[in-house]
Symmetry: C2
């Protein structure tokens, strides 16, 4: 079946969440938002491109930092309202310079920092 980005389910702002997962380690790196155009651009260029809600513009991941995400596989869920991008991640994915944005665990009622920023 041919894929049409307009067949996905977007929220009221025209956005769909996309989970970036390292294609090799399978670590979940981050979650950000895409619109139909950024999905098309991601598929065409092979460079993962989100929609920045704060800047209201395309966000080619790593364009300024160099921490790019090369698309390996794009997946859609059963409800067609969430995506996974399997990626080859260059450098840390998180703006804090950590490998993943999910570096805080909740354990026994406390927040535990699982990793330090890379240097």
């Amino acid at each position: 079946m041919s894929f049409d980005p307009s067949s996905l389910v977007y929220n009221e702002a025209g956005l769909i969440p996309c989970i970036a997962q390292d294609a090799n380690s399978h670590e979940v790196l981050m979650m950000a938002w895409m619109n139909a155009d950024s999905i098309s651009q991601t598929l065409e260029t092979g460079r993962v491109t989100y929609w920045s809600r704060s800047r209201q513009s395309f966000w080619i991941k790593g364009e300024s930092s160099g921490h790019v995400q090369e698309l390996v596989d794009l997946r859609v869920d059963c409800d067609r309202d969430c995506l996974i991008a399997l990626v080859n991640q260059t450098g840390p994915a998180c703006h804090t310079n950590r490998r993943t944005c999910f570096y805080t665990a909740i354990r026994d009622g406390d927040e535990v920092e699982l990793m330090k920023p890379e240097v």
Copy 2:
């Protein structure tokens, strides 16, 4: 630092996305939504509990199907607006009876079904 669910960033409906990831295989199983109370309930009971947007009620995953998610670790991202629940998943996570909800890949402009429902 002590964890307070009210310190997270919720959307206008009071919800935050939660990615369920298999703690052993690291496969991403599904994404659903939580509110502050379902986060507290998840941490207290060790049974992953979402907020059902369609039913507007707690959704104790697997309560009717038996396909429960035992919480192994809960993580929060840098922006505090997304969660990961690492889980021990009993049975398939997806309501279609597939292991994961993300069973469709977008490849060369086509949708490709990666797995069949379990029998």
